[in-house]
């Protein structure tokens, strides 16, 4: 009876009301990023780490200047890591930077498709969980891998819908459905979500949250787009919670049809 979600999303030791996680890449200014984050109502945003260029002023100042860290959990990712060892080092650097001991674990050596490496991801997850990190691994939509990561103590699994930034939506619906059916931790669909209908579809499949970046960041109006994704994500989550109908092979009338005006 209320339009805001009335069950919280529990990841690790934290609770979230919002089911939309925002990536901060690709915005054309810190201001537009801040406005979009605010408008989205998100409670978790990702950041990356990058080698500092010596003797060169970075144009984009410090990202934390633009993130209202009291509003959001800042989730560092391990983008750029080519293997488990590098991912672990990045996670530790993020912790040393004073960020929460959480990590979006992503290891994708191929530069064309940015698809995650299942072997290295599991290896890194095992190490990081042991070190006390709350680990959110980005994975291909592989149900067996998802189970192994849960067994290893990951706080979520984050299967992809389609390649990062491709806007192609949920091409992996059949396998995401299985992941959700078998999951003992929240399932966050990440990557490829390019339109509100994609976010809605993920939630209707039973996902617990979605992570969106490109579709909002490069929109002509990131703030408006953030709002649109937030509204859709939560409405579809609500619809899934209420219970959607089954599909049928034939039609089913919505008006009385019989013996009308047959003379």
């Amino acid at each position: 009876m209320e339009s805001t979600p009335n069950e919280t999303l529990r990841i690790g030791d934290r609770s979230f009301t919002s089911r939309l996680i925002l990536g901060t890449g690709k915005f054309n200014s810190g201001e537009s990023m801040r406005a979009a984050c605010r408008a989205s109502g998100t409670e978790m945003v990702t950041v990356a780490l990058k080698r500092a260029a010596l003797r060169e002023k970075d144009p984009f100042a410090d990202i934390l200047d633009f993130l209202e860290t009291d509003r959001y959990l800042v989730l560092p990712n391990t983008a750029g890591a080519m293997n488990a060892e590098e991912a672990v080092r990045i996670a530790r650097l993020a912790e040393a930077a004073g960020l929460p001991k959480w990590v979006k674990l992503e290891i994708h050596p191929d530069p064309n498709y940015l698809l995650p490496d299942p072997i290295e991801t599991l290896k890194a997850a095992e190490i990081l969980v042991k070190e006390g990190f709350t680990v959110l691994p980005y994975i291909n939509a592989d149900p067996v891998l998802a189970l192994r990561l849960q067994d290893a103590g990951c706080a979520t699994v984050m299967p992809l819908g389609s390649p990062i930034g491709s806007n192609r939506g949920i091409e992996t619906a059949a396998q995401i459905r299985i992941i959700i059916e078998q999951a003992r931790v929240p399932v966050v669909v990440d990557a490829g979500i390019g339109a509100p209908s994609h976010a809605a579809q993920a939630m209707e499949l039973g996902a617990d949250a979605v992570l969106v970046n490109t579709a909002i960041a490069v929109a002509p109006d990131p703030e408006g787009m953030a709002r649109a994704f937030a509204a859709t994500t939560h409405a579809a989550w609500e619809a899934h919670r209420i219970g959607l109908g089954r599909t049928s092979a034939t039609a089913s009338p919505t008006s009385p049809l019989t013996t009308f005006l047959e003379s």
């Binding site: 780490l49 990058k50 010596l54």
Partner: protein
């Protein structure tokens, strides 16, 4: 008068010359980097800013010098 002794260290995979026993924050400033915005891995171990402040660099040290940026 002899010149101050210098060391060779590796920063982000490249060789750099620095004064011996320079502290990490000082070194960063010589590179025009703000220590408050930088995270350092020293010889393979991540360092908090407090820890980094106490480190003095020696010849052959390896540093990774990174910052937080936007990312998805």
């Amino acid at each position: 008068m002899s010149a101050a002794p210098t060391i060779q260290i590796e920063v982000n995979g490249k060789p750099v010359t620095a004064p011996d026993q320079i502290s990490v924050p000082e070194f960063l400033r010589t590179q025009e980097l703000d220590p408050a915005k930088i995270i350092v891995e020293w010889n393979g171990r991540a360092q908090t800013r407090e820890e980094a402040a106490g480190i003095r660099l020696s010849d052959g040290d390896r540093l990774e010098v990174v910052r937080l940026v936007a990312g998805g």
